[in-house]
Amino acid sequence: MKKLIPLLLSVLLLLLAAGCSNKVTQETVSKKTPEYKIGIVTPTLSASEDEFRGADKVVKKYPGMIKHLTLPDNFESEQETAITQIVSLADDKDMKGIVICAGYSGILPAIQKVKEKRPEMVVITAPIWDDPDMMAKYIDLCLDTDWLKRGETIPTKAHQMGAKTFIHYSFPTHMAKELLANRRDKMKATCEKLGMTFVDISTPDPFTGSGPSPMLQFLQEDIPRQIAKYGKDTCIFGTNCPMQDVIIAKALELGFIMAEQCCPTPTQGFPAAMNLEIKPEDAGNFDKINEMIKVKAKEANETGRLSTWPVPVGVFFPEFSVEVAKGMIEGSVDKTNMEQLGKIAKDVAGVDVHFNKMKPEYNNYYLIIMDSIIY
């Protein structure tokens, strides 16, 4: 008897679940009947708004066609959940494409599983950070901002904006990532070439210790120290998103240069640091937001010393990738045709987007750089 109760309940559970799930799918099906669906995976709202909203935007653009999922908040230790989330998309027979905009490493196993089950599935990553060679092998189209290249472009831009010193803030777990460590080295090399002083500073680690707070407190104390030492014509770059609030706030206060955030976008760091009052009706209107930033920068006498990409790359990628995925599924887009990709990108972003091959031998791994806006 004791054993029977759970058994009965689980049978009931299965029946009910089957019934319910049918109902749900029927509902969505009855609303609209696109021939296929595309799944899109982003971090949570609190982890990164840009990707989330980007995906949200596409969901609205193609109602009923896009399935949006989020990854665990503390991705680093919940890899298993992430894998399930992604694989769950492949469960739907109508799902023809998956777009992953995550910026995490460790997602590849999920994609391998998806491909194993559904080899025809179109998978686009924009970006994930696993081993590039492996990624090119399994993933249909890999997109990323050109991290290494940015190691060159950011210091160059900073130099143009008048920086004499370049400070790079990071911490152990980030520097244990090959890509970030290499970018740092590239920045250093570029600075040497341009005759700037390169300063490398490590902060408390937000991933293994007590969260980001100690790191941010450290920044609050250290930035004034460094500015006192190197003067105002210093460009500060931090490798972790939460750092940007403090860096930009301090830039307004101390007048140094912020050439680009780690994830270049007007919506990161600026809104909190500048207390941008973005009304609900203006939300997502980047022209308006950029305008507001310009005004605030002027008030703080920082005109020409703050810069970023005008459209958040995080918002751009989901929409762009979905367009490409759509094209690929419908057979209208050739992933190897960079010109075609550039055109789609221009349509989506409104600014020029430059594509580069990650390695000459891969024709499915591209890196992008956008034009900048200087406030």
Partner: protein, 342 residues
């Protein structure tokens, strides 16, 4: 007089001394760092202080500190939402926070009274799950000050809300002056010490004594006619309110409100600090709070620049974590040893 200096403090002091000597050797300006360490003491000190009432009532380390922190965040959000600025803004934020904290604290206490003897572990998970629950709330929170809303989504709270135009740094900027290159903000320090003194005073009153008695010997307290659950409830509310005020002080000094998962990691540093101060998980003095708060933060302040100068940044960071965890473990083992001998 309680013995202040015991092995945990000695380890920390030696570590601190080594850092300081290295700093001098590397010509890192110590005076600025001293100023920073004072700011940090106050910034985190109130949060550390908030652990005291529960420790004194024998409920253990309040790993459910996020409950109080969330109350504080809510209070501040309210103040920001109604565009309260300056001193008045901070006062309003604290008032709102305290009121919310009383309610939260009461409910939290009901729960803790059900898990007597295992409060610490239960509180840890209550804190965690409460933070996740609040994440649900923040994403749909019906606040309407555009400075707090998501810039792209247009509704729900931002991850961080800047306080500069409201009441950021009001305490820090009160009566600030420079002395020997040390920036001291008297207002901030005064506020902290006043709060400490207030707590000290409360423990002198009848109810304060009852709290300590319950912490030391519940059976004795019951036999002396004390309603033990009531006293425990009051202690938890007291802790929660202090936690809420603590995050207000923290946020005004930091200049941003951090929502969503940020409160998750508030409890462990505060607990580490109080254990480093020499508390053994039982009755704790204000002195231990101040000492622990200061030592813990001072290490952060000095270790960063020194490590960066020595060009082995990760090393210092990991060593610091290792040392803190070791000390907490030591305090757990050692604290228990003390009680056994008693």
């Amino acid at each position: 007089m309680k013995k202040f200096i015991r092995p945990p403090q000695i380890i920390i002091l030696v570590f601190l001394a080594v850092l300081t000597i290295t700093a001098i050797y590397l010509h890192i300006p110590l005076n600025a760092m001293f100023g920073d360490s004072l700011v940090r003491l106050v910034m985190n000190g109130v949060l550390v202080l908030s652990l005291l009432p529960m420790l004194n009532a024998g409920i253990g380390l309040n790993f459910g500190l996020p409950v109080g922190v969330v109350a504080g965040l809510l209070g501040m959000c309210l103040a920001v939402n109604y565009h309260q600025t300056g001193w008045f803004g901070l006062a309003a934020a604290m008032l709102f926070s305290a009121m919310i904290a009383v309610v939260f604290g009461y409910l939290y206490a009901l729960l803790l009274n059900k898990v007597k003897g295992r409060e610490e572990i239960a509180a840890t998970f209550v804190g965690f799950s409460f933070v996740s629950l609040m994440c649900l709330f923040w994403s749909v929170a019906p606040f309407n000050n555009p400075a707090m809303l998501w810039p792209i989504g247009g509704k729900g709270m931002r991850l961080t809300v800047g306080l500069k135009d409201y009441f950021g740094k009001v305490l820090n900027n009160t009566w600030q002056f420079n002395i020997l290159g040390i920036k001291i903000s008297l207002g901030l320090l005064l506020f902290f010490f006043l709060l400490c003194f207030l707590v000290y005073l409360i423990y002198k009153t009848k109810i304060g004594r009852a709290m300590i008695a319950v912490g030391e010997n519940e059976d004795f307290a019951r036999l002396s006619g004390i309603n033990v659950n009531r006293v425990r409830t009051l202690s938890v509310i007291f802790s929660t309110v202090l936690g809420a005020l603590g995050i207000c002080v923290y946020a005004q000094s930091y200049g941003f409100l951090e929502l969503y998962t940020a409160p998750l990691m508030m409890a462990f540093p505060a607990a580490s600090a109080i254990l480093i101060g020499g508390s053994t998980g039982g009755k704790t003095t204000i002195g231990q709070v101040v000492l622990g708060g200061y030592l813990y933060q001072a290490i952060y302040v000095i270790s960063g620049p020194v490590a960066n100068q020595l060009l082995m940044p990760e090393f210092a960071e990991i060593i610091r974590m290792l040392a803190t965890n070791l000390i907490i473990l030591y305090a757990l083992l050692y604290g228990e040893g003390l009680r056994k001998n008693a």
